[in-house]
């Protein structure tokens, strides 16, 4: 009896090494400008070429500006150092012949958004990228994980990853969520329950009636943040929803697609398979979640009191005091007491078309609150942007006072021009609220697109009626 993870592992197992590790064959390798230059340098030094050229797909996303318009080339990047990385990616892709969706491409975007939507991510694949949010692709039933730069070089050179097997964990989400609760709230809730190390050493398979009921996009949000629960790998078994999604984006011939589907339909955990750890969560009890501190596990119901050091265990006291201090909430009781300065809707967690639709629904016909200095919407990819514009979502956002941007990681991390200024408080749909993540001394509160949109309109955290 095997789990889905066991099956994917065995399917890709090339060789068992004397060291106890395994060589695992990698079907797809995504590259971006930040974690690849040193890997290419290593490859060149060793006089090697990519093992299987077309396994690799590249795009610049982390440090590209998101005000570009048409005809923007990398020469227009103002930050000289960031420019070097984008140019370097371009040079390396050209040198080796790697397919790149470059800064001018209409299909450029956040690597984890473009992979699935362009049909490069397929169920049953092993997928790696020098980025921890590679777990996102697990939503299509892939064994997908983030790797370091040395491993990027290793995968380029050998098409394999040298790894030890993870343990199996199963999280079953059952029931129907209440109104205003999205998959972002559900995954934040999970992280609040098990902590940011709760999944360390595990591949987490998400299942249950709630997972069955949601779209591939929503599943991606959950798998994306598996890493925030400590798990390198998040997984959802392929089902009819997955197959419909793949059909829509596939570049396979009909015949090949049907053959593949026959295989994908078998990619399930066996009925009696045993997980090393199992948990069941009733999603009907979950309220919209908002983080208050500097780790994704510091999360509460949006209307609940923020934890205080005096009411917490001695282990937690120091963390709470430090986080409250950094966040500038030393005396505040509730999240609704906080005045926000910025709103960011975007990132590989929540920048797909459904996320933008949800947010647009909230802001339609309204205007952002006076205290909001800037509210930006950054579609995850060129294709998402195009689709949103066809649906008129850009107009809805712009009419409400939002700024509509070009695709990229944007304010998810302070590597491009979109950054918080010191002490600014941001309602963000991204995945990390670490100190300084969105800019030096910036204060991040993670939440769903729906809650972020509402915060933009309301100026403070609350629940849309």
């Amino acid at each position: 009896m095997r789990t889905l993870y066991d099956k994917l592992w065995e399917e890709h197992h090339v060789s068992q090494l004397d060291t106890g590790e395994s060589l695992i064959y990698i079907d797809r390798h995504y590259l971006h400008e930040v974690t690849s230059p040193q890997a290419f340098e290593g490859l060149i030094k060793k006089n090697l070429k990519p093992w299987r050229l077309n396994a690799n797909i590249a795009t610049p996303d982390h440090n590209v500006p998101t005000i570009r318009g048409d005809d923007f080339g990398f020469n227009q990047i103002q930050d000289d150092i960031a420019k070097i990385q984008v140019v370097e990616l371009d040079k390396n892709c050209n040198k080796f012949g790697i397919k790149q969706f470059d800064i001018k491409s209409s299909k450029q975007g956040i690597v984890h958004v473009i992979g699935p939507e362009l049909g490069y991510t397929l169920p049953g694949m092993t997928i790696v990228c020098g980025d921890s949010h590679t777990s996102t692709h697990g939503a299509l039933g892939c064994l997908a994980m983030g790797i370091g730069t040395s491993e990027v070089e290793h995968v380029l050179a050998t098409q394999c990853l040298k790894v030890s097997k993870l343990k199996n964990m199963c999280v079953k989400f059952e029931g129907n969520p209440s109104e205003n609760v999205t998959s972002k709230d559900i995954v934040l809730y999970l992280i609040g329950q098990i902590g940011t190390a709760g999944g360390t050493g595990y591949a987490i398979e998400f299942s249950g009636s709630y997972i069955d009921s949601i779209s591939v996009e929503s599943r991606m949000t959950i798998c994306n943040m598996a890493i925030e629960a400590g798990a390198k790998v998040g997984l959802v078994a392929p089902d009819a929803t997955t197959i419909n999604y793949v059909r829509k984006n596939s570049m396979l011939s009909d015949e090949m697609l049907e053959e593949a589907i026959k295989y994908w339909e078998k990619l399930q955990t066996d009925d009696n398979a045993i997980f090393d750890k199992e948990m069941v969560i009733d999603v009907s009890q979950i309220k919209p979640q908002v983080t208050w501190g500097t780790s994704p596990e510091m999360v509460v119901n949006f209307d609940e009191n923020i934890p205080t050091a005096s009411q917490s265990s001695s282990d937690e006291q120091k963390n709470i005091i430090l986080a409250r201090k950094y966040m500038g909430i030393e005396s505040e009781k509730k999240l609704s007491d906080l005045i926000f300065d910025k709103v960011f809707i975007g990132s590989c967690t929540n920048s797909r078309i459904e996320d933008l639709r949800e947010a647009a629904e909230i802001v339609k016909g309204k205007t952002i609150a006076e205290n909001i200095l800037e509210a930006i919407v950054v579609p995850g990819s060129g294709l998402v942007k195009e689709q949103a514009e066809q649906e008129g979502l850009d107009k809805v956002f712009k009419d409400a006072g939002f700024i509509w941007r070009d695709p990229g990681c944007s304010m998810c991390l302070g590597m491009n021009p979109d950054q918080l200024k010191p002490y600014e408080r941001c309602a963000s749909t991204s995945n990390r609220n670490f100190e300084g993540r969105q800019g030096y001394l910036g204060r991040t509160h993670l939440m769903s697109p729906l809650m972020a949109a509402y915060t933009a309109i309301n100026g403070t955290v609350g629940e849309p009626s």
């Binding site: 150092i81 491993e151 030890s164 190390a197 963390n319």
Partner: protein, 216 residues
């Protein structure tokens, strides 16, 4: 890389950072990920805590406002080779720059209750040894370190930490990982010895799962 002539001893002063969940964004903030080099990250280690101003890649330590309260800015800790922290050190982003920053500063080992998976793996590829110890031992080390500075000697061969030459604590780490630190092995070279296996596997896969290879 390793101070002793036999290459099996790491010794130096322990610097304690009493926090859980020290993520890789704290070890090195995103600004410095713009570098395309693999070295030269020492001045940016723990940047947000080490300085009182916002840094930029290329701006030297001497031009910054130092946070005098941060342990690595004070003697003798400015020459520490070993860091002590609590739970989940190195969680978050996969950036190997975090390990490069530790390595470039001169850190050769990190002792903590637990580590982020990707960070843990990255350490061994860059000669930094992550050591997991129980919560109780970590607590007692913090108590000792708060009284006066601790000199540590780590014997990689015996897998033993000696504290101020008095107390000994043993630790566990998988042999193949430790070997990487001791011998500085390069994974690419090792894996390429399996070229034939990889090709055979790939050829079979092309037959059985052709849709993976449609772009080839």
């Amino acid at each position: 890389m390793i101070s002793n002539s036999e290459g099996l001893i790491i010794d130096g002063i322990l610097a304690q950072i009493d926090r859980d969940n020290i993520d890789t964004d704290q070890i090195i903030p995103t600004e410095y990920l713009k570098s395309i080099k693999k070295f030269g990250f020492e001045d940016y280690l723990f940047d947000g805590w080490r300085y009182e101003d916002d840094g930029k890649l290329g701006v030297k330590k001497e031009e910054r406002t130092i946070n005098k309260n941060f342990i690595l800015n004070n003697k003798p800790y400015d020459e520490s080779k070993i860091i002590l922290a609590r739970e989940n050190f190195g969680c978050g982003s996969s950036r190997e720059h975090a390990v490069w920053a530790l390595r470039d500063f001169g850190i050769k080992a990190v002792i903590a209750c637990s580590f982020g998976d990707i960070f843990y793996n990255n350490c061994f590829k860059n000669g930094v040894l992550p050591i997991k110890l129980s919560k109780d031992i970590i607590q007692s080390l913090f108590e000792k370190a708060s009284k006066s500075f601790i000199e540590i000697s780590i014997d990689l061969h015996k897998k033993e930490i000696s504290i101020n030459d008095l107390e000994k604590i043993s630790f566990e780490v998988e042999k193949h990982l430790l070997d990487r630190i001791i011998f500085g092995l390069d994974d690419v070279d090792i894996t390429l010895q399996y070229k034939k296996e990889i090709s055979n596997f790939e050829n079979k896969r092309i037959q059985n799962r052709p849709w993976i290879f449609v772009n080839d």
